[in-house]
């Protein structure tokens, strides 16, 4: 199984899912015109990944500077997939990384944290500069 690497554009985030390192990272802005088309390969990759993953520690870093409302829904679906895998016995830690004075970024993280039951979900503040 290959790693999933999608380069960032002006309105889509960088995606680096590294199977060897058990490290999944989404970083940047997300407001594509069609969110489901952009994220389809992400969900396909995850499905195959979790089928083959063992009990290794999996780290997911979500560092989204900005996302539009339809991305917000997809990101929730993404977190739900992680949560389901965690309740299925996978060892998953999610870091929700937000900038120091981004109130909405923190609020979204808190909401995801409340909604998820099985993954370890950390809110990580990134200082500027």
């Amino acid at each position: 199984m290959n790693n999933l690497i999608i380069e960032a554009t002006k309105y889509t985030p960088e995606i680096v899912f590294d199977r060897e390192k058990s490290l999944l990272e989404i970083r940047g802005k997300s407001y594509p015109e069609n969110t489901s088309i952009f994220y389809a390969p992400v969900f396909e990759w995850l499905e195959e990944y979790f089928e083959n993953a063992g009990d290794e520690k999996i780290t997911v870093n979500m560092e989204l500077i900005y996302f539009n409302s339809s991305s917000s829904k997809i990101l929730m679906d993404f977190c739900d997939v992680l949560d389901a895998a965690a309740s299925d016995g996978k060892n998953i830690m999610v870091n929700w990384i937000y900038e120091e004075d981004d109130e909405d970024g923190l609020e979204f993280g808190e909401e995801f944290q409340e909604d998820l039951e099985s993954v370890t979900f950390n809110l990580v503040q990134k200082s500027i500069g």
Binding site: Y11, Y66, N68, S69, S70, S72, D101, D102, G105
Partner: protein, 175 residues
């Protein structure tokens, strides 16, 4: 027309508008407008949260035009977006044509949001995010709720009937 251009610009400034675009809106344009506005607001020492909220409101409005404007040229959707500053707040104006038979549904949706306070909007957003998108929606159906949630005042809107087929929908969001 040429000599009126300065008057037109002056009129926009008088209304606090520092950015205005009327015509076809595309995804690439949205990205460029967004980053230019970000740059401008950073020069004015605007807080990160405010910059992101204005950026977000512009994106949601522009993508609404792209998805729902009933004034189209082939695949391009037409509308108008303006961003301004008045009384210590940024505001975003957005307008596009809609077919008359969609007006009542849209009005109902927006009146419902106008009546909600911050916490109700937050809850409603979370509730709707859990649901499959409404049938007529080409996005997640969350755009208006998102804007109302990020606004510092109640969102304002208006429908102006143009002819038997179309009305002009306009909306103002104060950040």
């Amino acid at each position: 027309m040429l000599s009126d251009l300065y008057e037109f610009k002056k009129d926009l400034s008088k209304r606090g508008v520092f950015f205005c675009l009327s015509g076809p809106i595309s995804q690439n344009l949205v990205a460029e407008i967004g980053s230019t506005l970000e740059q401008k607001m950073s020069l004015e020492d605007t807080s990160k949260s405010t910059v992101l909220r204005v950026f977000s409101t512009v994106v949601e409005n522009a993508q609404n035009i792209m998805r729902y404007s009933d004034e189209k040229e082939e695949t391009l959707s037409l509308g108008i977006i303006a961003v301004g500053y008045e009384g210590n707040h940024y505001f975003v104006l957005c307008g596009n044509m809609v077919e008359n038979d969609k007006v009542e549904g849209l009005r109902k949706k927006l009146v419902k949001l106008q009546k909600m306070d911050k916490n109700q909007l937050k809850e409603y957003y979370r509730e709707q995010r859990r649901k499959p998108p409404p049938e007529e929606s080409k996005g997640a159906g969350l755009g208006f709720i998102d804007m109302a949630k990020k606004a510092s005042r109640t969102i304002e809107f208006d429908f102006k009937k143009i002819n038997d087929k179309f009305s002009f929908f306009s909306m103002k969001t104060v950040i």
